[in-house]
């Protein structure tokens, strides 16, 4: 197990390094000088040069890359070109909205999808199964931001159960914060739940054909008991894979959904930064998100081994 973790950890570190290099290279071939952009076209050359020196833009690219890496390792993401404040602080504030939103959506999606998959698998081939499958087919086709708009229309504009957008901040209490994130989380979760329910159903049906299920039935378990006690755990590998993949979709999706609900998360930050050409911010946010995706993939690999000890040997 230790050796498995060590090799996995090494490849994780390597992926992060390559990803950071790619992000840095892409953003540093940018046509146009951030210093000149910030100061405007009429700025005097010596003012531009002074700002370039202040931002560290006069250093060679390799030195800037290493400085960026070293800074990130210490939790220093640089200084925003536009706001002149540390990027780390800006990001931290925003992560406090985006991460809970993605986790909330992940929890909702799993809580909806697994029972739905179990339900459909238990009634495979019957009308209830066909109904669930048709509903999930539709769920996959709905763009989450459109669903978000429809939710606003029904639950905020018509019924007035929720606010149409905005975030009171966690200072207003956990419940108030959760309430503000509920509609966005539902919108994010629904299409992912549809995908996950289909995967869970397919995995369960495949497992139900195995010999150990017949054994379980033969020793007197009902179909439902065999399904929840034996089939579910064995069907977890594909389900875990999809849950892991979905986390990155949810984080990326959160960036879009935040725009529907005017939530002050990473998405708002990054789009603002793009329009202001605040590349330090773009670079750091993208790196952070890629980091999250790679880390989750790593955790899913570990989870496989916990669910299925047989995989430890490979």
């Amino acid at each position: 197990m230790i050796r498995y973790l060590a090799t996995r950890g090494l490849s994780l570190a390597l992926s992060l390094l390559v990803a950071s290099l790619v992000i840095f290279l892409v953003l540093n071939v940018v046509p146009g000088d951030p210093a000149r952009y910030m100061l405007g076209m009429n700025a005097r050359p010596d003012t531009v040069a002074a700002l370039r020196a202040e931002l560290g833009l006069d250093q060679p690219a390799a030195a800037r890359y290493l400085a960026w890496l070293g800074g990130m390792a210490r939790g220093d993401f640089g200084t925003s070109y536009t706001y002149r404040t540390p990027v780390a602080g800006m990001i931290l504030d925003r992560v406090g909205v985006s991460l809970p939103l993605a986790l909330y959506a992940l929890a909702l999606s799993t809580a909806i999808a697994i029972p739905l998959g179990l339900f459909a698998a238990a009634r495979r081939g019957r009308a209830a199964d066909t109904g669930v499958m048709a509903a999930t087919q539709l769920g996959i086709a709905v763009p989450n931001f459109w669903l978000a708009m429809l939710l606003v229309l029904v639950f905020a504009v018509r019924l007035r159960w929720f606010a149409a957008g905005g975030f009171p901040g966690w200072g207003a209490g956990i419940l108030a914060g959760m309430k503000a994130l509920t509609l966005p989380a539902i919108a994010l979760a629904a299409p992912q739940a549809a995908i996950l329910a289909r995967v869970a159903r397919a995995a369960l049906i495949e497992t139900l054909g195995e010999d150990f299920i017949r054994t379980a039935r033969a020793k007197g378990l009902t179909g439902g008991q065999a399904l929840t006690r034996h089939a579910l755990r064995n069907a977890m590998i594909p389900v875990l894979t999809i849950i892991g993949l979905q986390f990155s979709f949810l984080l990326a999706g959160a960036i879009i959904i935040e725009n529907v609900f005017f939530l002050p998360g990473l998405g708002r930050l990054v789009f603002q930064a793009i329009s202001q050409r605040d590349l330090v911010v773009v670079q750091s946010v993208v790196m952070l998100l890629v980091c999250a995706v790679i880390l989750v993939t790593f955790l899913v690999d570990i989870a496989y081994v916990l669910v299925d000890p047989r995989l430890r040997r490979t």
Partner: protein
């Protein structure tokens, strides 16, 4: 022929028809602003009504279909055009340098959701339909490369490949003449699914302003523009959203139907 395949085919035909029709005819000019006729309901002159600038919604939906279709077609084309040869090459030289590179690069690209690629590209080159295409296309390359490599590896073990080798054919000729035709089914099905994902991605990108730029209508941006008026004119949000759902649903049903039709294993299991 399953019901899903027929429904999917019909929806796709509708989508394609709308896109092609917009090339030769739209009821009104999509860019024609007529403030006096703003926010009108459906009528004989405006079948789906007008938006907040008095533009004809039906015309915008038709042109939006064309934009969606074009972006998705080129993006999936880039993905398959680069990914399939890479996958074939990796399988032909299994364990070689190319194989290793392709596998590593695949893992790397999978760490960047298409939206992040789009954000990076937009930060550098500014938002445009072309950049949206490139972002979605890059994201599609590893999907096709991985699928092709996996399936091609299995085919390389088959006797007919051995026969071709004995006949003196090289790796490239075997890949093109024997491996690729046997992968066609699989690739067509995957392309259909990637096509529907590309339409969703294009809608999301243009919704946040990273896709096609005004005055070109796109379904995603129509939704973004309708958002502030959702309380007074929900129709403006419903129509483009439904268009996206129908197009994506059609492609998914077509993809699933084709897979069942082309894969005898599944067909037997269903019968």
């Amino acid at each position: 022929m399953s019901r899903g395949l027929v429904t999917g085919g019909a929806l796709c035909a509708l989508f394609l028809g709308a896109a092609l029709l917009s090339l030769v005819w739209t009821p009104h000019d999509v860019a024609a602003i007529d403030i006096a006729a703003k926010l009108r309901g459906p009528s004989a002159a405006h079948w789906l009504g007008t938006d907040h600038f008095g533009r004809d919604l039906f015309s915008m939906i038709l042109v939006g279909a064309r934009v969606s279709l074009a972006v998705a077609l080129v993006a999936v084309g880039i993905g398959a055009g680069i990914g399939v040869p890479l996958g074939l090459l990796a399988a032909a030289r299994r364990g070689g340098v190319v194989d290793e590179l392709v596998t590593r690069a695949n893992d790397l690209v999978f760490a960047f959701p298409s939206l992040l690629i789009a954000i990076l590209i937009t930060a550098v080159f500014g938002p445009s339909a072309i950049n949206a295409i490139v972002a979605i296309g890059i994201f599609n390359i590893p999907v096709f490369a991985r699928l092709t490599r996996g399936a091609a590896l299995a085919l390389w073990q088959r006797d007919f490949v051995l026969a071709a080798r004995v006949a003196g054919k090289g790796e490239v000729r075997i890949s093109v003449e024997h491996i690729l035709p046997n992968l066609a089914d699989l690739l067509i099905v995957q392309a259909t699914i990637q096509f529907s994902l590309a339409i969703l991605a294009e809608a999301a990108l243009s919704y946040v302003g990273l896709g096609a730029q005004p005055p070109t209508p796109s379904w995603g941006r129509m939704l973004a523009e309708s958002q502030t008026m959702i309380a007074i004119a929900p129709r403006l949000a419903l129509v483009p959203g439904l268009a996206i759902v129908l197009a994506v649903l059609g492609l998914n049903l077509l993809g699933d139907g084709l897979r069942d039709l082309l894969d005898p294993r599944v067909r037997r299991a269903r019968a």
